[in-house]
Each structure stands twice: as structure tokens, then as C-alpha cells.
């Protein structure tokens, strides 16, 4: 009996590959594989970081290499919320509502210093970090982060999704 080399797409979900296209793996691995490679982002870009996110989408950095190029502006159609920019108290209820409108499963990337901690706007109107309002999966440093940092954050999120268990419910806002 001759074993064919394991195709790359299969290797992502399973290491046991039998001829005739039969693979043995868990549902969890397949679901996570699908989820992490087809993230549909909702860019909540308010400030400078939003401009850099446009750079990430453009052809030089090309986020579609990571399967996340289908930018949706409806929270119902997106599963990845990217907050790129300062969130003020005036904006906070809007952000909370957008997050709640997204369907499970959903993930949140906080891009840049302002979204993560308020940045150097430590004053009466800025929220000191969006984790006061919504749960965050990945924080990206930078003011604004370089496009490469955005991509690194996305890869980190993909790694995180790969480790998720279907049994576990997402904690907040479910």
C-alpha cells in the first residue's frame, strides 16, 4: 500500500490521511480551521489607525493572503471586530451596540495605543481602553501600528482560534 503525501489543506486539520480521501480528525479541528481562515472583519476605524487599516487592505500588504479581506460594514455579517482608533465616551455606546449586534462566534482585535489604553489622550473624554466596554482577544501595539503589526495580530488571533474548544461558550455578550 502506498501513502500519498498529505496535502497542505488536510495537514491543517489532521495528520492522519488515508488514500481515497478519508481523513480522521475531530469536528473541532475542522470547524476551527474554517473559522480562522475565513474571518470577516468589521473595521471600526475611527482615527489614524483606521487609515493604516486601509493600508493593510490595499494591495501592498494585502490582508487577503490571510483570508480576512472580506471587509463587512454590517455587524451581522462580520465575525471579527477590529477597533482601530480612539474610542471616546460619546462613541462608547455605539461600539457596545455594534458588538452586541454581531453574531457568535466573534472575536475582537484592539489595534493601537488608543483603543488598548487610551494612548496619550488621558483626558476627560477618552475611554482608557476599550476593554472597559467589550471583551478583547488580541491587542496590537503601536501608534498607529504598522501594517505588518496588524497582520501579526491577525495571525495571533488565528492561532488563538485554533486552540478554541467548541464546548466552551464565549463568556460575555453571548
Amino acid at each position: 500500500m502506498t501513502f500519498k503525501p498529505v496535502p497542505a489543506t488536510v495537514a491543517a486539520v489532521s495528520d492522519s490521511f488515508v488514500p481515497d480521501g478519508v481523513i480522521a480528525t475531530s469536528v473541532e479541528a475542522v470547524v476551527n480551521w474554517g473559522r480562522r481562515n475565513s474571518l470577516w472583519p468589521f473595521p471600526f476605524g475611527t482615527a489614524c489607525c483606521g487609515i493604516e487599516f486601509m493600508g493593510v487592505v490595499s494591495s501592498v500588504f494585502d490582508i487577503s493572503r490571510f483570508g480576512a479581506e472580506l471587509v463587512r460594514f454590517s455587524p451581522r455579517q462580520a465575525d471579527l471586530l477590529i477597533i482601530a482608533g480612539t474610542i471616546t465616551y460619546k462613541q462608547a455606546p455605539v461600539l457596545r451596540r455594534i458588538y452586541d449586534q454581531m453574531c457568535e462566534p466573534k472575536w475582537v482585535i484592539s489595534a493601537g495605543a488608543c483603543a488598548t489604553s487610551g494612548g496619550f489622550y488621558d483626558c476627560y473624554c477618552t475611554v482608557p481602553g476599550i476593554d472597559e466596554i467589550i471583551p478583547v482577544d488580541i491587542y496590537i501595539a503601536g501608534c498607529p501600528p504598522r501594517p505588518e503589526a496588524f497582520l501579526e495580530g491577525l495571525v495571533q488571533l488565528q492561532n488563538k482560534i485554533a486552540r478554541e474548544h467548541l464546548k466552551e461558550q464565549k463568556a460575555v455578550g453571548a
Partner: protein, 397 residues
């Protein structure tokens, strides 16, 4: 919403929130409108969703610490803000920066104006559904950002100038890089013009849409490309020249009707004028110092700091205390990519600014947006919002 018309008919208007989280509003503007079918019968605008306290924060630090905040006013052309603020503080000191610094600043201002117009035009065209232009312009913009990175290490928020000069001189090969990128900019503008200038869909969607007359534009205090689109030939670079702009050969581009078409096309043509100014400035770029030889403003040479007591004290004082402009109030303006960007600085003679009021060009343009799009189709409102180029960082500060 049920209304009674002046003729006595009952009508049902649909009320609609456009934004703040809407792609055409860049996440931070809100337009609340009453719709009759697809026509906007009344619209009220709200701003402040990105109000992050610029004017309060700058009172907490020294003058040098204001510079990074100015970057984030208009983050599409951060350098113009840097230079505008430095120019205002230099005016308070009555200091003229060296010739090389002035010429470098002109190069940076005009390149920044180009990338601002690139971003504004391409996102505006995306709002109209013309996605291809986005790739053409963003690739060119990345080329300019490569120069920025070589120059100062940052892409978007540069903080490249200092009060009294520059962060550092341009790197060797700067001029060649800029000249190469200018060719690419011209090519990109030509390509986009080829795609849209005679495109029937584009013309139908923008011609005679949201017309702003010259009188209205002036009453709303519009400046910059939007004012010129309404036919008023006013440009600070021509009217009150600074940095030797009167010696450069360039034209102001003026529109006729003040519709969305004019506002978009003016930006495309202005890029070409800026390209011409950058070329002339590069021809004039001569070696020399970039910092004003003034101990009140500029840090002494590193070498002198280590060997000279006075230079050490000077360096120490400048870093720990910063500059101290004489007490008083000063307004100084610069022609930014969007119009007149002014800084009204109140100094009490101390190291921290007592009060800085920014005169953002976006503010006046957004104030007019509601009345502008009343009576127009809602889809055209999205296109028009792009054409007046609202940058929320500058609008809300």
C-alpha cells in the same frame, strides 16, 4: 415620521441614522435625516465622536510635547500640521529657520498634500463604487510612506519637525527617492483621470450634485480646495505667501460650479501642481544647517554638549523645560491640504502653552454638510461627504 406639508398633504418621512459607524462617515460622523423615498428632506449632523481633548491635553505639557498631538489632527497629512504649529511658535519667537529647512519643509508640505489628496480622492471614489482607483492611489501612497520611513522612521504620524528646525536633515539619496516617486504620482493621477474623467456613471453621479455657491462657501468660512471648487480663487500660498511660495511657479486650480465633480477633480489637478512645486524645491535644495542657530529653540550639537558647560546647560534646560515663547497671543495659519489650518496660541511666558485653539478647516466644511445635501439623494450624500474630505481627528480634535 408623519408630517404636514405646506400644501396641506400628509406625508410619511422615514428617519434614518447614517453613522456614526458607517463606511462613508469614516466611523465618526453622524447624519440624522428625514427621507422622502430616497431624497433627503432634512438633515442634521452631529460631530464629536472623536473628540479626544487635544486642546486640554496640550495645556498639560511643554511646547515640544504638543508636536505629537498635532500629528493626530489631520493624520492623512501629519507633516503639514507639524510644520504649521512650528511655524506659529517660530513666529512668536520672531525666528526664521535656515534656508535648507524652509526648502525641505516645502518639499514635505507638498508631498503631504499629495498623499492627503490621494487618500481623500480614492476613498471618495470607493464610496461611489469605483474600487480600482483605490489600488492605484494606495500603491503610490505606500511609495511616499517608504520615503517617510527612511526620513524619520514613522509612516503616518511623523513628528518630523522641531520648533526652530527639523528633527534631522534628510538622508543621503532623499532627492532621488522623491524624484522617482513624483513620476509614479503623475502616472497614478493620469491613470485615475483616465478612468473617471469621461466616465458617464461618475459624471452623472457627481455633476451638479450638492452645489455650493461662492457666497454660501464664504459664509460658512470654507477655505482650501472646497472653496476653490466654488470658484473663489483664494490660496494662502498665493495671497499671504510664506516659505517663499511667491517664488515658485504654480497655479491655483479653480472650479466653476462648486459641485461634487469640481471638488473631486480639483484635488486631482492640485496634486500635479504640487508635483511641480516639489520639483522646483528639490532643484533649490542646497546643503546647509536645518536648525536655527538660536539657543532658545534649538538643541546644541551633541559634540558641544559633552565638552562645553554652556551647551550642556542649554541642552538640559531645553529638554527639561522646553521653549518659552514671550507672553501674548498669536495666530498663524498655513495652507493645509484641506484649507487654512490656524493655530491661535496664548502664551503666559511659561514653558507650557496656556491655551492653543486650532482652526481646523474641516470644521467649517462639515458645518455646511447638512444644508448642502438637503434635497439631494441619500446615495449622493455619501459621495459628497467624501468630496469635502472630513478628517475626524481634525474636526473633533
Amino acid at each position: 415620521m408623519r408630517v404636514l406639508t405646506p400644501e396641506g398633504d400628509h406625508l410619511d418621512f422615514m428617519t434614518l441614522n447614517m453613522g456614526p459607524s458607517h463606511p462613508a462617515t469614516h466611523g465618526t460622523l453622524r447624519i440624522f435625516c428625514a427621507l422622502d423615498g430616497e431624497t433627503m428632506k432634512a438633515a442634521v449632523c452631529e460631530m464629536g465622536y472623536l473628540h479626544r481633548g487635544f486642546e486640554k491635553m496640550v495645556e498639560q505639557g511643554t511646547y515640544s510635547m504638543v508636536l505629537p498631538y498635532t500629528d493626530r489632527l489631520n493624520y492623512c497629512s501629519a507633516m503639514i500640521n507639524n510644520i504649521g504649529f512650528c511655524k506659529a511658535v517660530e513666529k512668536m519667537f520672531n525666528v526664521t529657520v535656515p534656508e535648507r529647512c524652509i526648502t525641505l519643509r516645502v518639499v514635505l508640505i507638498e508631498l503631504s498634500r499629495i498623499i492627503d489628496h490621494l487618500v481623500c480622492s480614492c476613498t471618495n471614489l470607493v464610496d461611489l463604487g469605483a474600487l480600482t482607483n483605490f489600488w492605484y492611489f494606495f500603491n503610490t501612497r505606500e511609495e511616499v510612506y517608504k520615503i517617510w520611513e527612511k526620513l524619520c522612521g514613522q509612516r503616518l504620524t511623523n513628528t518630523v519637525t522641531r520648533i526652530g528646525g527639523m528633527y534631522r536633515d534628510a538622508y543621503p539619496g532623499f532627492e532621488d527617492d522623491v524624484r522617482k516617486v513624483l513620476v509614479k504620482i503623475e502616472a497614478a493621477v493620469a491613470e485615475v483621470r483616465g478612468l473617471i474623467e469621461h466616465n458617464k456613471i461618475f459624471i452623472d453621479r457627481t455633476k451638479d450634485v450638492c452645489v455650493v455657491s461662492a457666497e454660501e462657501a464664504i459664509s460658512y468660512g470654507w477655505t482650501g480646495p472646497c472653496l476653490r471648487a466654488s470658484g473663489v480663487d483664494r490660496d494662502l500660498r498665493k495671497d499671504e505667501p510664506y516659505y517663499g511660495y511667491e517664488t515658485y511657479q504654480f497655479d491655483t486650480v479653480v472650479g466653476e460650479t462648486g459641485d461634487t465633480f469640481d471638488r473631486i477633480m480639483i484635488r486631482l489637478y492640485e496634486m500635479l501642481e504640487s508635483v511641480s512645486i516639489v520639483r522646483q524645491a528639490l532643484d533649490r535644495l542646497k546643503p546647509g544647517p536645518v536648525n536655527a542657530p538660536d539657543a532658545r529653540l534649538s538643541l546644541p550639537d551633541r559634540d558641544r554638549v559633552y565638552h562645553d558647560m554652556e551647551a550642556l546647560i542649554n541642552s538640559f534646560k531645553l529638554i527639561y523645560e522646553g521653549v518659552r515663547p514671550p507672553p501674548g497671543e498669536c495666530y498663524d495659519a498655513i495652507e493645509a491640504a484641506n484649507g487654512e489650518l490656524g493655530f491661535h496660541i496664548t502664551s503666559d511666558g511659561g514653558t507650557n502653552p496656556y491655551r492653543i485653539k486650532v482652526r481646523p478647516p474641516c470644521f467649517t466644511q462639515y458645518a455646511a454638510f447638512g444644508p448642502m445635501c438637503e434635497g439631494e439623494m441619500i446615495a449622493d450624500a455619501a459621495a459628497t461627504l467624501g468630496s469635502i474630505n472630513i478628517i475626524a481627528g481634525e474636526l473633533d480634535r
